[in-house]
Symmetry: C2
Subunit: 111 residues, 2 copies
DNA sequence: GATATAATCAACCAAAAGGTTGAATATATT
DNA sequence: AATATATTCAACCTTTTGGTTGATTATATC
């Protein structure tokens, strides 16, 4: 499971196309900060900040080798987020069929 | 599927405990703005803003009846987000086993 | 018609997000 | 030792976020 704050960090980190692209890049293996930044139009510093956000969310891990920082993708937070979403979908979506839900709403409106 | 911007809005909307609590409340049926706001310590206006964020993400739908605005939970964006995450997990996580991934990384480091 | 209720709008504020540039730090290379 | 490279740190800027309070709009109720 994931605490609310952890979930916040994970979802927030994923709610940005640049950061998702970075993760995608890392999903096929380790890369240095400069390499990760290369495809983007923004500055290296901007990418460095995005990486920090991903690190805070534990979606990215850093391994320093000399002046190079090797970044790698960690799947656990995504797993946790998926678990939360699936669980949520189950409880909010499928548990009630359409009729049941309708009845509940009518009941609520009556009060 | 969901466009990047749609996904951004969905994930951003979900990345806040207040908004998740609002959705949870609505998952058991329609409710008016005031009713939704009641359990929170913050002002009605603050909650109203959160609802707007959820509406922009299409996670909440509004039905006006007189002066009352009835809010309801819509599952589609969550479904789309879940789909994205599952697909992503599949391609980034499980496709390669540990050995394959290691080999790829060694190859990358060699360059 | 007067008043109460449901909700937004508007202005403001502080903090965070996302970007910039320039300086600093640490490590390699010559 | 001098220089180049990899990266962060620091300061700054603009926009967004998350909250406030006070006014406004629309609808019910007495």
């Amino acid at each position: 499971m994931s605490t609310p704050k952890t979930l916040d960090r994970t979802l927030l980190a994923l709610a940005d196309p640049t950061r998702r692209a970075i993760l995608q890049r890392l999903s096929s293996g380790e890369a240095r900060v400069t390499d990760v930044a290369q495809p983007f139009k923004m500055s290296l510093n901007a990418v460095s900040k995005h990486i920090l956000v991903l690190e805070r969310a534990k979606l990215v891990q850093r391994r320093k080798v000399g002046r190079d920082h090797f970044l790698s993708y960690r799947a656990e937070p995504l797993d946790a987020a998926a678990q939360w979403i699936e669980q949520t979908r189950h409880f909010w979506g499928s548990r009630l069929d359409a009729l049941e839900k309708l009845l509940r709403e009518e009941d609520a409106n009556r009060s």
